[in-house]
Structures are given as structure tokens and as C-alpha cells.
């Protein structure tokens, strides 16, 4: 046994821990023979005595009775109604509001996405559309795209050729007299276009097929629903989706009593 060996076991020796009896005896013998280790062991024993005195002096220390009352009251409160702890409730409430906010944002984003896609699909349709109240009595509604884009006439006509039929009862009487300028009806037509349902027919303005000068007088006429190739849109100066060129498109044609077509509009 040397000083280094004793240093390794001096704590257990001073604290009276269980150890090998022969080893303990060797350590004590070395401490008696070595003054330095003897002092060291004495200091450790003194410290152990002091620490035990501290432990004994504080052994009676306890939490005050008020604390016990408070803790038991908290226990009683928790188990009486089984509520969630306050901090848990607050955290869950905050999380619930977060869920609501995220859900509302998702719904708003979905609505915006749908409206955006709907507007894009409207853009892909023929720009001149109008709600038709029926094949027999149509109320021409010029869409907003029509008002913005110039519409070339298939024949060398004047500016007033781009006219709209306000009412076309069947049989149509006095059709030329009921033709008004499309621009003057644009606002009301746009409003009606907005109010139109998805199931109703959408129709363009009536497009004059003959010059006013060459138009023979006719007091009455008929509106005839016909089907035309979609490429007919191009001949009337209307844009056409080339991907759907093979499809057919409906149109209403105003035919006078003399059998001549006066005007045409396209119906969707």
C-alpha cells in the first residue's frame, strides 16, 4: 500500500463504506506510518463528521404544512372534474385556432384557384358570348371581350354593322328597326352576362350578314337554330380554339320573309 493507493480509497475509508477487511487494514497501517496520508485521512474523517452533522441538523426540515394543503388542493381540483391542466388547455386552444386559421386559408386558396381556372376557361371560349333566353326570344348580350376586341365584318360594311338585337321575338318583326348599337347596350349586357346561370345558353351578338343598303324591307322573320362547323367563327372575325376545330357549333340565324338571312349569332 502506498500513498497513491490510499488516495484512491480514502473516501470510502473516511465514510466507513464497506470494503475488503485486509485492504482496509493495510490502508490504516499506511496512514499511521505516513504523516501526510495520516493528516489527509484525518481531514477526510473530520469532513465526514461535519457532513453528518449537517445532515442530522437538517433531518427534521420539512416543507411547511401550507404547502401540503396547497398541493393536496391542487390534486383534489385536478381529479374532481378531470380537466386538462391549464397550460395544456391553453396550448390546445391556441393549436385549435391555428387549425381553424390554416383551414380557412386553405379554403380561400382553393376558392381563388377555382375562380382563376374558371376565368381561364372562359378566356378559352369564343370571346363574344351572350345569354340567350331562348331560341325564339333572345336577348343579345355582348360580352366584355367583344367590346374590347374589334370585330371585323365579313363584308365591306360600316361601323354600325356591329349591331345587337335587343329582342327577337318569333316571328321577328321589324328586325332592322330593333337593331341598336352594341356599345350602347354593353353595360346592361355585361350585367346580364354576370347574372346568367351556368345552365343557360350563352349567345353572341347578332352579326349583320348584309349591308343595310342592300337589305330589302322586311317586317317580319324567323330565328332558325342551325349547326355550323366551328371554323365558321373565323369567317365572322371571331377567335377559334384550333384544338376544337372539328367540333360543331350552334348558331341562330334571322331569316326574313323573303328567305334571306339577315343576321347570325353563335350560341353555346
Amino acid at each position: 500500500m502506498n500513498c497513491h493507493d490510499l488516495e484512491g480509497m480514502i473516501n470510502d475509508l473516511a465514510r466507513g463504506q464497506m470494503m475488503d477487511a485486509s485492504l482496509r487494514q493495510q490502508a490504516l497501517s499506511h496512514a499511521e506510518s505516513c504523516a501526510c496520508c495520516g493528516m489527509r485521512l484525518a481531514a477526510e474523517r473530520s469532513l465526514t463528521t461535519g457532513l453528518r452533522a449537517v445532515a442530522a441538523a437538517t433531518a427534521a426540515e420539512q416543507a411547511p404544512m401550507l404547502l401540503e394543503t396547497a398541493v393536496l388542493a391542487a390534486f383534489r381540483e385536478q381529479h374532481s372534474a378531470k380537466p386538462a391542466p391549464a397550460f395544456v388547455t391553453a396550448r390546445f386552444a391556441a393549436r385549435r385556432w391555428a387549425y381553424v386559421a390554416v383551414g380557412a386559408a386553405a379554403v380561400a386558396a382553393l376558392v381563388m384557384l377555382l375562380s382563376l381556372s374558371a376565368s381561364r376557361s372562359r378566356d378559352a371560349q369564343p370571346p363574344v358570348e351572350r345569354k340567350a333566353e331562348g331560341t325564339d326570344n333572345a336577348v343579345p348580350v355582348p360580352p366584355r371581350e367583344l367590346l374590347a376586341a374589334p370585330r371585323p365584318s365579313p363584308s365591306p360594311a360600316k361601323d354600325d354593322q356591329k349591331l345587337a338585337v335587343i329582342r327577337t321575338p318569333s316571328p321577328v318583326k321589324g328586325t332592322p328597326g330593333r337593331i341598336r348599337n352594341a356599345a350602347s347596350q354593353s353595360k346592361r349586357a355585361a350585367d346580364k352576362f354576370d347574372e346568367s346561370g351556368s345552365d343557360a345558353e350563352i349567345a353572341t351578338d347578332f352579326i349583320r350578314l348584309m349591308n343595310r343598303d342592300s337589305l330589302p324591307q322586311s317586317d317580319s322573320g324567323q330565328v332558325v337554330r342551325v349547326e355550323l362547323p366551328r371554323s365558321a367563327l373565323i369567317s365572322y372575325g371571331l377567335p377559334m380554339n384550333m384544338e376544337r376545330a372539328d367540333e360543331r357549333i350552334k348558331a341562330d340565324v334571322i331569316v326574313g320573309n323573303d328567305g334571306l338571312a339577315r343576321a347570325i349569332r353563335f350560341v353555346r
Partner: protein, 218 residues
């Protein structure tokens, strides 16, 4: 014992005193107030003293004790008996709270109230009879307590658990959450530091008590 305490004592009469901590905890989880009361009374003293030794403040010790049992009643299901005893679990919770409080208190300047608090704690340790012996013993205890409080926290907790609470190395390691060898080495180092501090304090006291001869210039 106050009337409230007597009432609480009557409530715990239904459970035998030999009921183990684990059985009591199961009853606590089920909402048994008697079991919680018995468990509190059985373990509050150790938790309170541990917090008191670690912090040196009665206020902190009370706060920590309350927090420990609030945590126990709310999260009793989290206790895993395979990882250690319930006492070690409670000491572990107390240790975390105490270390947190110590860390917070480092930001503040110690006021006179805290010093009075510590003095009051030591005053409570004074036994009656043999005033001179008590005074000497009380001074020793005060010095030692002060020396423990100025130790670094990881040394302090080793001293408090192994020496003042007489825990084994294994139990202390379970509370601290480290290896047994770490506890041994920390305890060894902490004792060495304490020996040095106590010796230095005694040297200071003895040197101040020495009569220094002064030359008379008269």
C-alpha cells in the same frame, strides 16, 4: 398538528403504512387522494431538503417541492419503474428545477433577504443546551453549509445526494443521470474541495484571532 393536518391524517388511515411507492403511485394515477397524501408525506421531506441543500433558500426549496408533486400528479404515468425508484425519479425532477432556479438566480444580485433566509435556516439547526458546544457546532455547520453552497453544481449535487442524503452511488447516478464512476469521481473531487475550503476558513479564523503585537510609539 393543525386541524387541517389532522383531517388529512385521518384521510390516509385507510392505507397501510407499508404500501410501496409503486402501489401508491398506481392509486394516485387512479385519482386516490389518500394515496397521494401518503406519498407526499413520505417523500416531501427528502425532496425539500435536497432543494434546500442545493439552493440554500427555503423559498426555492418550497417552490421546488411544490413543482415536484404537481408534476407527479399530472405526469405520474410517465414514471418507469425499470429506470429507477420513485424516490430517484422525484429527486431527478427536483434536481432539474433546482438547477433551473440556480441558473435563473445567477442573473440577479443576491439581496439581504436571501442572506437572512440562509441565516434563519442555520438558526433552526441550533440545538438547545450546552451553549458553547452548540455554538461551536453551529459555526462548523454554517461553514460547511456555506462551503457546500459555493461548490459547482455538479459537485454540490454529488455531496448532497451521497453525503447528506446517504444515497448509494447507484442511486445518485440514477438521479443525476450519469455513470456510477462519474458520481464517484465527482464526490472525490467535491470532498477534496470541501476539505480545502474548510481548512482555509479555519486558517482565516485562527489568524484573525491571533494577538498581533503592536509597537508602542508613545
Amino acid at each position: 398538528m393543525s386541524a387541517g393536518a389532522a383531517g388529512l391524517h385521518r384521510q390516509t388511515m385507510t392505507l397501510p403504512m407499508t404500501t410501496s411507492d409503486l402501489d401508491l403511485l398506481r392509486l394516485v394515477v387512479a385519482g386516490d387522494e389518500d394515496a397521494f397524501t401518503m406519498l407526499y408525506r413520505r417523500r416531501q421531506g427528502g425532496v425539500y431538503r435536497f432543494a434546500l441543500h442545493m439552493s440554500g433558500s427555503q423559498t426555492v426549496a418550497e417552490d421546488v417541492t411544490q413543482e415536484v408533486f404537481i408534476v407527479l400528479m399530472r405526469e405520474a404515468g410517465r414514471f418507469d419503474p425499470n429506470r429507477g425508484s420513485l424516490a430517484a425519479y422525484l429527486y431527478g425532477i427536483a434536481r432539474n428545477h433546482v438547477l433551473r432556479r440556480i441558473e435563473q438566480d445567477r442573473l440577479f444580485v443576491q439581496l439581504a433577504d436571501s442572506a437572512e433566509d440562509a441565516v434563519g435556516t442555520c438558526a433552526a439547526m441550533i440545538a438547545e443546551g450546552d451553549p458553547l458546544g452548540d455554538l461551536t457546532r453551529n459555526e462548523t455547520i454554517q461553514e460547511l453549509r456555506h462551503s457546500i453552497l459555493v461548490l459547482p453544481a455538479h459537485y454540490r449535487e454529488a455531496i448532497v445526494l451521497c453525503e447528506l442524503h446517504e444515497m448509494s452511488y447507484v442511486e445518485a447516478a440514477s438521479v443525476i443521470g450519469c455513470a456510477v464512476g462519474t458520481v464517484r469521481s465527482r464526490l472525490h473531487r467535491a470532498r477534496a474541495l470541501l476539505v480545502e475550503r474548510v481548512r482555509a476558513a479555519r486558517d482565516r479564523n485562527s489568524s484573525s484571532e491571533e494577538v498581533k503585537p503592536a509597537r508602542c510609539f508613545a
